[in-house]
C-alpha cells in the first residue's frame, strides 16, 4: 500500500488525495492537510477518488475537513464509512485538573487526617466485633471450628518453622559477631552471651517473628478472605446463614494467637543456638559454660517479657489481615491493594506496640 499524498490542482481549488489514508498514515495526513490548508486556504473540494484505502481513523480526519469543504469522488463504501464516522458524537471528556502543588499538600494532609480518624474508628469497630465473635465462640465451644483452627495453626506455625528458625539463627549470628567485635577491645567479649541472650529473649525473637508472620500470614489472611469476598463466597456464607466472622475470622484469630507465641519460643531457642555457634567459634566457650552464663545473665522475666507480647502482636496481625480481606471489593486489583496495606499496617502496628511495651515495662520496672 502506497504512502499517503495530497496535491492541489493548478488553481489550488481542488485537493486530490492519493495512497492510503489509514491509521498508520493518519498523523502524517492530518499534518499535510493542515499545511495544504494554510497554503491554499480557499479550496473548494477534496477529491478522494484516488484513495487506495480508508479506515475509520482516516475517515475521522476527512470528516474534520468535510465540515468546511465538500468531499468528492467517494465510492459507496467510502461514503457509508464517512457517514458512519461523521454521525458519531465525539467529545473529549474533561478530566479534573490536578490542584496546584501547595494546595495539594494542604488538601492532601487534611484528607489524610480525616481518613486516619475514620480508619482508626473502623479498626476499633472491627476489633470489637472480633472480640465479641471470639467470646461468643468460646462460650459455645461446639460451634468452634476446630478443624479450621488446626489447619490454620499448621499453615501459620508448622509451615513457618524453617524460615523462622533460619531467621532467628541468622540474627543471633549477626548479634554475636558484632558483640564480640565491639566488646573485645574492653576485654568484655564474654558479655556477648548476655547481650545475645537478653536481646533475643526480650526483643529480637518476638519482634522479628511477629514481622515475619505479619508478612507471611497477615498477607495470606487478606488474600484468602479477599478472594472469597471478590468471588461473592462471603455473601454466599451469609445467605446460607453462617456468620462470616465466625467462619473466617474467629478460627484464624485463635490459630494465630496460639501459633505466634509458640513460634516466638522456637525463635528464641534458635537464636540462643545461633549465638552459641558464633561465640563458641570466636571466644571458645563450651556448652555448659554458655548455659551457665545465660542462666546468670537472663532472668525468667526476660523470657516472659518477650513472650507476653506475642499473643498481643498476633491478635493485631490477625485483626488487620482479616479486616482488609473483608474490605476487598469485586475487582482483582483491590485484593493486591488490600494485601499491601494489610502488611504495611500490621508491621507498623507491631513496631508501635513494641515501643509501647518497652515504655510500659520500663515504668513497671521489669
Amino acid at each position: 500500500m502506497s504512502e499517503f499524498g495530497c496535491t492541489a490542482d493548478s488553481k489550488g481549488k481542488r485537493i486530490v488525495l492519493t495512497g492510503a489514508l489509514t491509521i498508520a498514515h493518519v498523523q502524517q495526513a492530518a499534518h499535510q492537510l493542515r499545511a495544504m490548508h494554510t497554503q491554499h486556504g480557499d479550496w473548494q473540494a477534496v477529491d478522494i477518488s484516488k484513495l487506495e484505502a480508508l479506515d475509520t481513523a482516516g475517515a475521522l480526519v476527512l470528516c474534520d475537513i468535510g465540515r468546511d469543504v465538500p468531499i468528492a469522488g467517494a465510492s459507496d463504501t467510502q461514503r457509508a464509512l464517512l457517514e458512519l464516522v461523521s454521525a458519531l458524537p465525539i467529545a473529549i471528556p474533561k478530566t479534573k485538573r490536578p490542584l496546584p502543588p501547595a494546595r495539594r499538600i494542604v488538601v492532601g494532609t487534611g484528607r489524610y487526617m480525616v481518613e486516619l480518624a475514620a480508619e482508626s474508628r473502623r479498626v476499633v469497630t472491627f476489633m470489637g466485633k472480633s472480640v465479641l465473635a471470639l467470646a461468643h465462640a468460646l462460650r459455645r465451644p461446639q460451634r468452634l471450628r476446630l478443624n479450621s483452627v488446626s489447619h490454620h495453626i499448621e499453615s501459620i506455625g508448622i509451615d513457618a518453622l524453617p524460615i523462622i528458625g533460619l531467621m532467628a539463627f541468622m540474627i543471633a549470628v549477626v548479634l554475636a559477631y558484632q558483640g564480640v567485635a565491639q566488646l573485645k577491645p574492653y576485654g568484655g567479649e564474654s558479655f556477648t552471651v548476655d547481650l545475645v541472650a537478653i536481646s533475643i529473649l526480650r526483643e529480637m525473637g518476638v519482634l522479628l517473628t511477629a514481622i515475619m508472620v505479619a508478612g507471611r500470614t497477615g498477607s495470606s489472611f487478606t488474600a484468602e478472605i479477599g478472594v472469597m469476598k471478590a468471588r461473592e463466597e462471603v455473601d454466599a456464607l451469609e445467605v446460607i446463614g453462617i456468620d462470616p466472622f465466625e467462619m473466617l475470622v474467629v478460627p484464624r484469630l485463635i490459630a494465630i494467637i496460639i501459633a505466634l507465641p509458640l513460634l516466638t519460643f522456637f525463635a528464641n531457642m534458635m537464636g540462643l543456638v545461633g549465638g552459641f555457634f558464633i561465640i563458641n567459634a570466636l571466644i571458645d566457650i563450651s556448652v555448659p559454660q554458655y548455659l551457665e552464663r545465660i542462666h546468670l545473665a537472663a532472668q525468667i522475666d526476660d523470657l516472659f517479657v518477650g513472650m507476653i507480647k506475642a499473643p498481643v502482636f498476633a491478635f493485631f496481625i490477625g485483626i488487620i489481615g482479616c479486616m482488609h480481606g473483608l474490605r476487598v471489593t469485586g475487582s482483582a486489583e483491590s485484593i493486591g491493594r488490600e494485601t499491601t496495606t494489610s502488611v504495611v499496617k500490621s508491621i507498623f502496628l507491631v513496631l508501635a506496640l513494641d515501643a509501647f511495651f518497652s515504655i510500659l515495662f520500663q515504668q513497671v520496672g521489669i
Binding site: 502524517q28 492530518a30 475509520t56 475521522l60 463504501t77 464516522v85 458519531l88 465525539i90 467529545a91
Partner: protein
C-alpha cells in the same frame, strides 16, 4: 457472502492439532474464513473453542498443522504487524485495570503508530462512540463499568488499530438479552460498514442465527463448517441436537420473525 474459489481466504486453518498431555483436543481442524465473513464457532464445553481461537491468533502454538493469515504463517508475522491485523475481544474484556477506558483504547495506537496525543485522544473517543459507549465513559476506570460496557470498551480497544479481522470470545455471554442483541447489531454494523472479517466463539443461538454467515461446529475433534440451513440438515447427532433443541427452535423462530 458466499465462498468463491477465486478469493484468497483471510484465515486458513490447516490440519491443526492441539494436545494437552495425552488429551487430544483437536485432531484435524481445517477450515477457511473468507474476507468480510462472519463465522461462528460452536461446540460442546471442553471441545476446545477457546483453544482454537487462541491458536488462530498465535497465542497458543499448535501441536501440528498451520494457521495462515492472508497467505502467511501466523507465527511468521511480527508482533507489531499482528496487532494491526487482529483485534481480539476476550471473554472477560481483559481491560487493563490500571488505565482509564480511553487510555486502554489509546495504548495500541501509542505503541504502534506515531500519532500525537491530541489526535490519539480524539481517535480513542471515536472508537468509543463506534462501540456505542457514551463519551464520558472515556475517563472512567474499567472497574466502574457495567458488564455490557466492559464488553463495548474492550471492543473499542480491539478496533483501535482498525484491524481487518476481529476475533470475539463469547461476546454476548453474561449480557442481558437487550444488551446482547444491541451488541449483535453493533458487530453487524461493523461488519457491513468496515468490511470486518469476524470470527466469534458463541453459545448465543440468537447471535448465530442473526449474524453468522457460516458456522464452524467442533465435533469429534474436527470442524464441520457450513451455512446454517445446511447444518440444520446435517446428519451428525450432536449437530442435529444442537440446532433442533427447543432453544435453537425458539431462536430460529424469533429470527425469522424479525428477518430483513
Amino acid at each position: 457472502m458466499t465462498k468463491k474459489k477465486t478469493v484468497e481466504p483471510m484465515i486458513a486453518v490447516r490440519q491443526v492439532q492441539n494436545r494437552f498431555g495425552t488429551q487430544v483436543v483437536h485432531e484435524d481442524v481445517t477450515f477457511d474464513v473468507m474476507p468480510g465473513e462472519i463465522v461462528g464457532i460452536v461446540g460442546g464445553s471442553g471441545s476446545g473453542k477457546s483453544v482454537l481461537l487462541k491458536t488462530m491468533v498465535g497465542l497458543r502454538v499448535q501441536n501440528g498443522g498451520e494457521v495462515r493469515i492472508g497467505g502467511r504463517d501466523i507465527r511468521a508475522v511480527p508482533p507489531a504487524e499482528r496487532a494491526g491485523l487482529f483485534g481480539m475481544l476476550f471473554q472477560q474484556g481483559a481491560l487493563f485495570s490500571s488505565l482509564s477506558v480511553a487510555q486502554n483504547v489509546m495504548l495500541p495506537m501509542k505503541e504502534h503508530t506515531d500519532i500525537k496525543l491530541k489526535l490519539c485522544k480524539k481517535l480513542a473517543q471515536m472508537k468509543l462512540a463506534l462501540a456505542d459507549l457514551p463519551q464520558e465513559a472515556g475517563i472512567k476506570m474499567p472497574a466502574e463499568l457495567s458488564g455490557g460496557m466492559v464488553k463495548r470498551a474492550a471492543l473499542a480497544r480491539a478496533l483501535a488499530l482498525d484491524p481487518p479481522i476481529l476475533l470475539l470470545d463469547e461476546p454476548t455471554a453474561g449480557l442481558d438479552p437487550l444488551t446482547a442483541s444491541g451488541f449483535d447489531a453493533l458487530i453487524k454494523k461493523l461488519n457491513v460498514n468496515l468490511g470486518l472479517t469476524v470470527v466469534m466463539v458463541t453459545h448465543d443461538l440468537d447471535s448465530l442465527f442473526t449474524l453468522c454467515h457460516r458456522v464452524a461446529v467442533l465435533v469429534d475433534k474436527k470442524v464441520i463448517i457450513d451455512t446454517l440451513p445446511n447444518l440444520m440438515q446435517h446428519s451428525h447427532p450432536w449437530i442435529r441436537e444442537y440446532f433442533h433443541g427447543p432453544r435453537a427452535r425458539a431462536a430460529q423462530v424469533a429470527t425469522e420473525g424479525r428477518d430483513d
